[in-house]
């Protein structure tokens, strides 16, 4: 009888943290598949490195903290952190970059603050921000296989690359693409035998929004803002599809009631409204269209998967709305006026800073509270109409 629950309630919904995390992992899949399709095996290699190091670091920290390794590892929270981190890192990054970031995230940001449930900041985004500060060059280039870029590109009238038999060899999912991704991740493997330059002839490309920003800043392509697509490399459609993938994943999470609608909606609405207000077509100061802001960068994954990390986010419903607005404003400001290229990580961390105070001051009205005026009125109205 010792293990039985002594007090009510005796019935339970049966949900547990592992299930929540598992669902979150499933919800990430569409976006990951889309990234895989467009950016090749680099993203898979990132995920593999990230997950292995996350699990090792988590187990080591649990051991040091005298916690039961098995039960804590099975909550899958380390997996979620690893996955979110891996898909934020540009594919084709060297292995040590990924490893350093995830170990920093798990050891310092998560466990040194008390482990699951106690970290004030989002571990994956802290790891990302640390890397961005320490290795800005490595963190801003999105490598995709050489031949996809340099080969002929066939685009249909919707702007989506068509998969014709002639084009099949151009897919980043080819064998050579895999080899290249491996070489990028593990440079030491290319010990003389292979000519690296054959593969890594250097296409580093950022998200369309970043390209847009660079273009806007340098004003080189400003004139081409309308008309011909600025992103003829296919990157535009790629990010669109990836964002739509994450959007679907996020809607799935909403449907499963893993996350509430408050944070994603607040972020997306804020970014949309700001982008719409500041959008000035044809002017030299280019802020980008609302569509570009929502689908041209990591907005969807940020809104649905990263900002909704419950541990570091605001937890009250009104607080979540304000939290989302703060993050939305930060995303837009950093993107447009800031000097950093990607803004999700810093915006979310800034939101994390605000979360405790939001929880304290943005509280829902307790049932039966704050009615004094109303109840007094009703009392005085209470005329004795007893029959």
């Amino acid at each position: 009888m010792s293990g039985l629950k002594a007090g009510a309630p005796f019935q339970h919904s049966g949900r547990n943290i592992a299930q929540l995390m598992q669902t979150l992992l499933y919800a990430l899949l569409p976006g990951i598949f889309a990234s895989l399709w467009f950016f090749g095996f680099g993203i898979l290699i990132n995920i593999a490195i990230s997950i292995s190091f996350a699990v090792i670091a988590e187990a080591a920290m649990l051991r040091l903290r005298n916690r039961d390794i098995r039960s804590h590892l099975s909550d899958r929270s380390a997996l979620v952190t690893a996955l979110l981190f891996a898909i934020a890192i540009p594919p084709g990054s060297p292995w040590w970059l990924v490893a350093l970031g995830i170990v920093f995230a798990v050891v310092i940001v998560k466990h040194l603050y008390g482990g699951l449930g106690h970290n004030p900041f989002n571990p994956a985004m802290c790891g990302y921000a640390m890397l961005l500060l320490a290795f800005p060059l490595e963190m801003t280039g999105w490598h995709i296989p050489n031949e996809v870029i340099n080969g002929p590109l066939i685009v249909d009238n919707l702007g989506i690359p068509t998969i014709t038999p002639e084009r099949e060899f151009l897919s980043p999912l080819s064998w050579s693409g895999f080899k290249q991704a491996l070489l990028l991740a593990f440079p030491f493997a290319a010990s003389g035998a292979i000519d690296i330059s054959e593969f890594i002839d250097g296409l580093a490309m950022a998200t369309p929004l970043i390209e847009f920003k660079m273009a806007g800043k340098s004003a080189i392509f400003a004139a081409r803002e309308s008309g011909a697509s600025l992103f003829a490399t296919g990157s535009e459609t790629a990010w669109e599809i990836i964002n739509i993938g994450y959007l679907f994943g996020g809607l799935f999470l909403l449907y499963k009631k893993i996350i509430s609608w408050h944070i994603p909606l607040a972020i997306i609405a804020t970014v949309f409204v700001l982008a719409a207000l500041f959008y000035a077509p044809g002017s030299v100061a280019i802020y980008g269209t609302p569509y570009l802001h929502l689908f041209g960068s990591a907005t969807m994954i940020g809104a649905f998967f990263i900002a909704t990390d419950p541990v570091s986010a605001a937890t009250t419903r009104p607080g979540k709305l304000v939290y989302g607005i703060i993050i939305g404003v930060s995303i837009y400001s950093i993107r447009v006026w800031g000097s950093y290229l990607d803004s999700i990580a810093f915006a979310v961390l800034f939101g994390n800073f605000c979360a405790p105070i939001l929880d304290q001051y943005c509280r829902p009205r307790i049932f039966g509270h704050g009615l004094r005026g109303k109840s007094e009125r009703s009392r005085s109205n209470e005329a004795p109409i007893k029959p």
């Binding site: 943290i17 009250t316 009615l371």
Partner: protein
Amino acid sequence: MSTLKQLAVRFFNSDPIFARRTVGGIQPHPFKERSLRSRIMSTPIPQQLTIPIGAEGSGEITLLVDIGDQVRKYQKLAVLNMSVEGCSDVPVHAPTSGVITSIENLIVADHSEQQQLCISLAADGHDEALQLEPHTNYSQLSSADIVSLIRDAGVIGMGGAGFPTADKLSIYGESAIEFLIINAAECEPYITADESLLRERADRVVLGAEILKQASAARRCIIAIEDTKLDAIAALKQALQNEMSLDQTCELVLIPSKYPAGSERQLIQCVTGSEIATGQHPTDNGIVMHNVGTAYAAYEAVVEGKPCISRFTTLCGQALKTPKNFEVLIGTATGFLFELCGIEASLEQRIIVGGSLMGSQLGSDKAAICKTTNCLIAASAIEFPTPEAEQACIRCGFCADACPSNLLPQQLFAFSKTLDTTQLLEHGLLDCIECGACDYVCPSHIPLVSIYKESKKLIETRSQSLERSDYWQQRFQFRQYRVKKEKDQALSRKPDASLKPKLAAEQAVKTPKDEQGFISKEQASRDIAAAVARVKARRNEKNK
């Protein structure tokens, strides 16, 4: 024709009531179907009855019988005067005839897990009853008459709170009651007592509701039931139709099925739309609520003149072969009922009194059914398995979405861990109704309700010790003040005593004082100057 007219009146003269949305709530699996397969069964008279009177400290108990007395059915055994404000005497009656064998403190099938003073009665099997006094034409009775009949019958709130019904009807009789709500929500899993009662005896419940309406002088009577209880709804509709031909009106409101829809304040908001402020009583807002079982007991008390000696109790759980609802005599041992259902001892793991979300574990199978025992669950090991290991709170907020009081259970949990009573009060811990919805949804399997109960106790002890320390501080300060005052008086008296006492007395009389009895500043300086002059004069005299 009259039915049509009634319908027309109801449609055009009174505003129809629609259930409103309430915050929070969960939809747990109800587990009600097994016990609803059988009809209500009246239990045979057990050989031994243990009739609970009241817990020690719950009030003043007056015993009307002694050990060895022969009693008859319906005879008054004792009177409990609860020490709760506004409670009057509640009599307890003999459920059958027999001999009193003992009077002692025993465990009863109750949430409180407290021992109660119980009268043990050895039934003689004759079931000799006192003559009852029926009042079939209750509509002729005055409100006060009905209340006194209900009081004499010992009817208390059958939903679980156990507040004397007569007092609920009469205390607030002076403020006009707009709504009488009959609570048939019965939202907690496993419990089907009210549902089966409505299914089989809806007409009597409706009459009971009429009686309560008449007694509380309520303008409208609403029966609120969850929209999933189809059999009970059908029976109620039939009963209301029959009743309508008698020119009386109760209204039926279907409320969405969720837990805790049957909680008093939540149900009031759902049905009437008014939110009862914390610290206020529903009657302050012209609303009074009674349980279905109470309405039935009121019917019996008034129309049949029968005291409250039985109640409807659900017996369920996987360890029972045929779970069902019983009309059970107060004082029956739980073990007796389990045997009637056929208990599989190999499956039984523990017995829970109440539902699965707010119930409490019962230590003994000899515990007696009391007037508030609505459900007994003989749970198997699969039914309520050992909970998963507690994990850290990840602040997912599921609990906040589930909370019917719109609290923030995750924050309350954090403040409970740090024993921060100020923040706990600020975050409304005392508004927690301990429904267990937060606990039910928690993915970290944190026993939140138990933690809140501990925190409430902590707050209580802290406020008590604070009160005590305040009291002693006041006493100490008063003592210091008194000592100082005495010293001052002694000092000021000394010269007076050396002087002529008469003069001092005269001075005291002469000295004009303001309303508070204080001497004004100017007066004081004048007095001082006069005193100095006197001393100088005396010195001069001495020197001369």
